[in-house]
Amino acid sequence: MAKLFIFGIGGTGSRVIKSLSMILASGVSLGDNIDEIVPIIIDVDKGNEDLTRTIEILKNYEAIHSKVASNANYKGFFQTKQTNLYPISGNEYRLTIQDVQGKTFGQYIDYQTQTGAQKDLTNLLFSGNQDDKGKPKPLLDMDMAIGFQGNPKLGCVVLNQFKGNNDFDTFAANFVQGDRIFIISSIHGGTGAAGFPLLLKNLRNADVPTPNSALLRSAIIGAITVLPYFQLKDGDIKSADFISKTKAALQYYLKNVNPSLNSMYYIGSGSNTHNYENNKGGTAQKNDAHFVEFAGAMSIVDFALQSDIMIASQGNRFLEFGIDDFTNGIDFSVLGNASNGIIKKPLIQYHFFKMYLDYQLRKSINCQPWSNRGKVKITKDFINPTSGFYQILDSFNKRFGEWVNEMALNDPHFTPFNQDAHLLNSISNNPPKDSFMNFWKTNYSLFDDYLNAAERNIGNTTAELKFIELFNKATSNLFTQRYN
């Protein structure tokens, strides 16, 4: 069994990893090739809210997973193992980029003390300005604490810290034969666009003293490059530049990146995109989740599902993502069969799970048999403490809810669930098969029936696992019997 190291670079990296966490939380399986993911976030912008949210989600996921998936045969919510390589508090999951805080690019390369031809070359290579509150600011004077603001040529210098970087060496030391690497980045930004090729070069050109350098050089590497899928409102970063930048970068990738990859996933969205608030970074950078990020997360699943043999035989694979045409929004009805095959059931299950927790749990707990029965009971004591498993789950689910809502409101709308409908009617374009048979029952009574039934099949285990398994089984049966 093998690990999948997932490098999420920059804001897009964080957001796709977040989507991946949601998908994995719902119980999507990465198949036989991968049984563990190792998310590694590379972002110089420490204060980025997207990053903060993702880290929180990852931590919560891992906490939940550790409670429920102690058994290797566990299937269901949070089944995929996730590892944090960097246990230092405050830096979890993050490969630390040094010397960027409070520095301009010029200071980072100590431009002032450069002399002669080198200084002139620096001047030429890093010429140009960045818009700073309506005024041009030389690139050399740019503050890097908030990223590279669409200047990957700066990023590739600053981020070139892998060689000899402790965090990178930790990663390398953990890399064993059979492990794979996946890199997430956006093409038009700063950090991702710079970090991706640079990381790739460091992997492909890894050498002693980097641990396992030979393995890294020949590792199976996949990547998703996220092309523009949203437009910023007028502001510092000119969205007009996105396309130009994208095209220039794609061209660069042709020779400098693509040959080094086993699988390249392209995704973007050309039109009908929502205008985002334009923030360069920091706490203000909090972008609503988007279907493209969801699809991006799906690429990781796709990558994980490919066997080594298949990857080796196909050479460089270049993949794109498609769905059926849609009018008002995207739901399961327009997703392809393969996608639905992977995602539909787990996501609906998790949706029901969360609905129940949100609307019914407090009514049924201590009342329904699934709560009161058996050796391990799930009582109000399970959900009431201010800290503990349930609170972590609750936090995670809040993020899940946010994620779903944001994607629904984003453009294009991703609305697999109808939040306004009753539970059983809340799967968009997918009413339950035999609703008439239980018309006398409320939706949640039926859900409780499924939970009670499931309770009978759960053996002696922890409250946390029992709780999750109740829902794994109930939602599975509910989906299988009424929606499949």
Binding site: Y108, I109, D110, T113, Q114, G116, A117, Q118, D120, L121, L125, S127, G128, L139, G150, N151, P152, K153, C156, V157, N160, K163, H188, G189, A193, A194, G195, K201, L227, Y229, K238, A240, D241, I243, S244, K247, A248, A249, Q251, Y252, L254, N256, N258, S260, Y266, G268, S269, G270, V292, A295, D302, N316, F318, E320, F321, G322, I323, V334, G336, A338
Partner: protein, 1132 residues
């Protein structure tokens, strides 16, 4: 189906499918297919994750432009255009090198240096750069593995770009709008306009395509650039076929250092591909400009462009004109002046294109000098002046700079270009005057250099020209200028010029003005023609003009006039350039009182003249209007009048007189027509106060005399040579006949001959055989022989002012010549040591004459008299009186002051003339009798003094009878029936000598004349002087004999009255003859002694121990006649 991609699904070749499906790599086509909603108008994309992103971006830009052409985003087109600008700057390195610096970055050593700094930041940067340079993918993609060095280019200390292994050149991302680089086609580098390769300077295109030809894998290495070049070449095929062919004919050897120059120590791009620069402009590299000045004269390497401010850039036929390898841009800001040397200039509107060009200020002066008179168009180029509606009569000095003549000749200046004058002046009613200079440029077009000169302000407001605005200023100056002569001399003619500058800037505003003249030949304006000397005859003050005379002995073409070293202009004389074919002969009778010059050409003899066709003095001012007197008169006074002709204001014969400037210094050089001149105005006007008249030149014993005589004759010869040349005469064929009196000592004759010879060599030619010396006595004979049939047995008597020369022909052979200093001056002069206060004639007539002059307003003449009179030289005063008869002013007043007639009608002085005439005939007859000669058949009279015969009686037969009587008395025999014939030239007896000389211009040696010379000593009637008869040997007994001989003569004369009544025949006053006789007999010895003393005084200058050169007979008579006149006058 909806695939999440940027490409429009319908337009993309990419597959449509669902889920994550295997599609295809986004290669160039797929990338290009991504629609760009902003059309690439935004900022330059910065998303290439490499420190060398800028190089890649340039490459990307070329690719986009290649694939999409004009549909490529503006940003990409701009990058391509800017990269080409960088390339073009490398190409033009030498043009911009003052502002640019090329820095070499070596990928090995410079990175090592960075690593060596031990600064962690530097090391990190170095490692990153190294990784990108060495990493396989990047190295291949950027060709880093084929290049060692990158050259960075700085303009005005800022990096603007560099060389790239991808696109050869790339530009900075920084905004370069601040730069001011303009290429030779007017294209401004880095501006917002896109300029594709095919529209760039052709030489640059050839360079780039040549580079491509020279490098075998160019297309593979610089793939996108090369593809771009292909596309541009295809465009050239239809739009510039000649360049297309030129480029297609390039081969691998076209790009090398025989055609191009290396930059610095040599730059190389990939695999040693050299980056050359264009060859620095030299004469061998032609540029194609429609503004190139059309001149065959200019000797510089490159013909400058003539650029006119505000030119429309089209020809007269509205065809667009090429400026410098490219069309002229109308907005090109051509300045009105450029302070830099022409060779250091850079073309306006372009950066650092060092190429010569000319602008209006190179040819036109800031000031325009206005004259107070119109220019004399006959003699000077007046600039085609059009008075327009301007009401004043003015003229202008050409405000041309002499630079003009580096390109054009004077003949060009006077021509028309396309039917319009090359140069033109035009005044407006306000006085503002425009000078227009049309400069021919190639293809038959011209450029107009125009400058408006603001009107002259009388208030003295200090207007100054503003060259930036092309505003000139008129200055008005009062001056006269005269050129003598207006001739261009040929090789064998020693040029001899005088230029008179009369500075009349004497108002308080202008008194301090200084003038300077420089002379130039139009083929070398760098050096002025040497000025032999400048003579200032008078220095100016608030009342008086200043006169300066430039002496030049070289030909020149124009004069540069400078006032205060600030106002300048060019004066262009219209020189006479006749071919020299005719033969002239001149005879110069340099007489004591008068001098006559006669010349012959084409078989016609006439007195020397200057008429309107051969004016020698070219005055700048036109005679059309009145010019202030001082300017006008100075030429006549100090140089020469315009016109000299019989019956004119001035004529020959004229008084023998020299006008000498008070500043003349004989210790230094003294020049005729500068320090001294022949004052033709003499006896017509007072000389200027700074001049002194010198008369009595011929016999003066003054120390300066010899030099003065030379100057006088030199002046005459200058007039003569000019006369010859102006009338198409050949100077070297010109003959000059000069005359000497028989009474002249040999030593004096030799001195004269030397003067004549040196002057002849200087002024006329080297063939001294053409210089003919003749005896004054012989010449008239030739004249009368040919005109009066006096062919045989002739006695020719030439009575001048100072000497009387007699030659006796027996048959046709001259057998005896005698000469004595007894002539008109003996009557009219001051005897021995007297002056005009004691001169009876002067005292008798001066009041009457002055009265007539003043009454008739003849002020000039009155002034002339007043200038002559104070020196108390009676001969001068009497000469003045005589001159009035022929004075034009007098004639014009229709009045008569005929001194000869006044004398004729005044009977009391008749006896003086009788004595004078009788003494000469008596002496002649005595000699002939002593020599046993027959009585003469003809007596011919010539010389100014022969006019006294007319005073004696207008009746020729009376005189003949009287003469016959004297001969018969001396010879004691009677004339036969043929009698004696007296022949006169009553009108102008002086001319006979010259005319005779011209009739037979054969030299007579002093010896041949000396051999027949016979001098009756005067002590008796038959003793002739020989070589031993020296002045020092005269004894007191000799003196006594002379006195008795004189007494004998006086008795003889008065005895004639009994047979030939003086009162009846001559109208002499009858009453006083006895008294006269008494006076004549008085003081004979004293007068003789005075005469001898005077002779000794003269001889002191030479050698007093000389044989006597004349009879002593007349010595007492000179004194007697003077006293007699005085006494007669007293007895009124």
């Amino acid at each position: 189906m909806k695939v999440f991609r940027l490409q429009d699904g319908t337009k993309s070749s990419l597959k449509q499918d669902k889920d994550w499906f295997v599609s295809a790599e986004y290669t160039t086509n797929e990338i290009i297919a991504i629609p760009d909603p902003d059309g690439g108008k935004g900022n330059e994309p910065t998303s290439i994750p490499s420190p060398f992103a800028r190089m890649d971006l340039a490459n990307t830009a070329f690719r986009y432009v290649n694939d999409l052409g004009d549909d490529a985003g503006y940003m990409y087109q701009k990058i391509v255009s800017d990269c080409l600008d960088i390339a073009e700057i490398f190409f033009n390195f030498h043009i911009f090198q003052a502002d640019i610096k090329i820095i070499e970055w070596d990928k090995t050593t410079d990175i090592q240096k960075l690593l060596n700094t031990n600064t962690s930041e530097h090391i990190k940067l170095a490692e990153t750069l190294k990784m990108y340079l060495e990493n396989k993918e990047d190295a291949n993609a950027f060709n880093f593995n084929q290049v060692q060095k990158i050259y960075l280019i700085k303009y005005k200390h800022h990096i603007i770009g560099g060389t790239s292994p991808l696109t050869l050149f790339f530009n900075t991302a920084n905004d370069l709008a601040w730069t001011d680089i303009i290429f030779s086609n007017g294209d401004k580098a880095f501006d917002t306009a896109i300029l594709p390769l095919n529209q760039r300077v052709e030489d640059f295109q050839i360079w780039l395509y040549g580079m491509r030809c020279s490098f075998s894998n160019f297309a593979g290495t610089f793939r996108e650039l090369s593809a771009y070049m292909d596309k541009n070449l295809a465009i050239l095929q239809t739009q510039n076929n000649s360049l297309f062919n030129q480029i297609n004919n390039l081969d691998s050897a076209s790009y090398n250092h025989t055609t191009y120059d290396v930059i610095g120590n040599g730059l190389t791009s990939i695999n040693g591909l050299p980056i050359f620069q264009s060859r620095q402009l030299s004469g061998t590299i032609p540029i194609v400009s429609d503004f190139e000045i059309a001149t065959t004269k200019y000797k510089g390497l490159r013909k400058p462009l003539a650029l006119q401010h505000g030119h429309k850039g089209i020809t007269m036929n509205a065809k667009p004109m090429r400026y410098f390898n490219a069309p002229y841009i109308q907005t090109t800001n051509v300045p009105y002046h450029d302070d830099r040397q022409i060779s250091n200039r850079t073309l306006p509107g372009l950066s650092n294109v060092v190429y010569p060009y000319l602008t209006v200020s190179d040819f036109l002066e800031p000031y325009l000098i206005r004259t107070i008179y119109p220019i004399n168009k006959e003699k000077f180029f007046d600039g085609n002046y059009k008075k327009g509606s301007y009401k004043e009569d003015k003229g202008f000095i050409l405000p041309l700079k002499k630079t003009f003549f580096e390109y054009f000749d004077i003949s060009d200046l006077q021509k028309n270009i396309n039917g319009r004058p090359m140069f033109q002046f035009e005044s407006l009613a306000s006085g503002t005057t425009t000078a227009t200079l049309r400069i021919p440029i190639v293809n038959g077009n011209y450029i107009e250099f125009k400058r408006e000169y603001q009107k002259f302000e009388d208030d003295g407001s200090n207007k100054t020209p503003d060259l930036n605005l092309n505003e000139g200023v008129i200055v008005e100056n009062q001056f006269g200028l005269g050129l003598f002569p207006c001739i261009r001399f040929e090789a064998d003619e020693n040029p001899e010029y005088r230029i008179a500058l009369i500075d009349r800037d004497i108002s308080p505003m202008t008194l301090s003005n200084t003038y300077n003249l420089e002379y130039y030949q139009q083929n070398d304006t760098t050096r002025s023609v040497p000025i032999t000397d400048v003579k200032r005859r008078n220095k100016k003050n608030a009342q008086e003009v200043e006169t300066n005379f430039y002496i030049l002995k070289s030909n020149f073409d124009f004069i540069e006039l400078a006032i205060n070293n600030a106002y300048r202009g060019i004066v262009i004389p219209i020189f006479s350039e006749k071919s020299r074919t005719k033969q002239f002969t001149f005879a110069v009778d340099f007489g004591t009182t008068n001098t006559h010059v006669e010349y012959s050409v084409d078989g016609v003899n006439q007195p020397f003249n200057i008429n309107s066709n051969d004016i020698q003095i070219a005055k700048l001012h036109s005679n059309d209007i009145f010019v202030t007197g001082e300017i006008r008169s100075t030429f006549d006074h100090d140089l020469v009048p315009e016109i000299i002709e019989p019956d004119g204001q001035y004529s020959f014969p004229m008084r023998t007189v020299l006008s000498e400037s008070n500043t003349a210094n004989y210790d230094l050089s003294v020049f005729p027509l500068a320090d001294v001149s022949i004052p033709f105005i003499y006896e017509r006007d007072a000389l200027k106060h700074y001049n002194t008249s010198i008369t009595n030149l011929k016999w003066s014993s003054d120390k300066k005399n010899s030099k003065q005589v030379e100057l006088f004759l030199d002046n005459l010869l200058l007039l003569i040579r000019n006369k010859v040349i102006l009338n198409g005469g050949k100077l070297s064929d010109t003959k000059i006949v000069w005359f000497y009196p028989a009474s002249m000592l040999e030593i004096r004759f030799n001195r004269f001959r030397q003067i004549w010879e040196s002057l002849f060599l200087k002024n006329i030619g080297t063939n001294v055989a053409n210089l003919v010396a003749m005896s004054e006595s012989v010449a008239p004979f030739y004249y009368y022989r040919s005109t009066q049939n006096a062919t045989r047995d002739v006695v020719s008597i030439d009575i001048g002012g100072g000497t009387t020369d007699i030659i006796i022909f027996e048959g046709t052979t001259p057998t005896l010549l005698t000469s004595f200093r007894f002539a008109a001056d003996a009557i009219f002069g001051d005897g021995y040591g007297s002056d005009s206060n004691r001169n009876g004639f002067v005292q008798e007539f001066k009041d009457e004459i002055i009265n007539v002059l003043t009454k008739n307003g003849l002020e000039d003449l009155y002034k002339a008299y007043n200038s002559i009179e104070p020196r108390k030289r009676s001969t001068d005063i009497i000469a003045f009186f005589f001159s009035l008869a022929n004075n034009k002013d007098v004639k014009n007043k229709n009045i008569q002051i005929h001194f000869e007639k006044m004398l004729e009608q005044c009977d009391k002085y008749k006896i003086v003339f009788i004595l004078f005439f009788a003494s000469i005939i008596y002496h002649l007859a005595t000699i002939m009798k002593a020599k046993n000669m027959a009585m003469p058949r003809y007596l011919t009279f010539s010389g100014t003094g022969s006019k006294t015969l007319q005073i004696l009686t207008p009746d020729n037969s009376t005189l003949e009878s009287f003469t016959k009587l004297i001969f018969e008395k001396i010879f004691h025999e009677k004339y036969d029936s043929n009698g004696l014939t007296l022949i006169f030239n009553s009108q102008n007896p002086k001319e006979a000598t010259c005319k005779g000389g011209i009739c037979s211009p054969i030299s007579q040696s002093y010896e041949s004349i000396d051999n027949i010379k016979g001098t009756l000593i005067g002590i008796d009637t038959n003793s002739f002087a020989n070589k031993n008869t020296k002045y020092n040997n005269i004894t007191s007994s000799d003196l006594g004999s002379i006195v008795s001989e004189t007494r004998k003569f006086i008795e003889f004369v008065f005895s004639l009255n009994e047979e030939f009544s003086f009162s009846n025949k001559f109208g002499a006053a009858a009453g006083n003859l006895d008294l006269v006789k008494t006076l004549c007999l008085k003081d004979i010895k004293k007068n003789l002694q005075d005469g001898l003393d005077k002779k000794h005084e003269e001889l002191k200058q030479i050698d007093s121990n000389q044989p006597i050169e004349e009879t002593l007979f007349f010595y007492p008579l000179t004194g007697i006649l003077n006293s007699l006149v005085h006494e007669i006058n007293k007895q009124k």
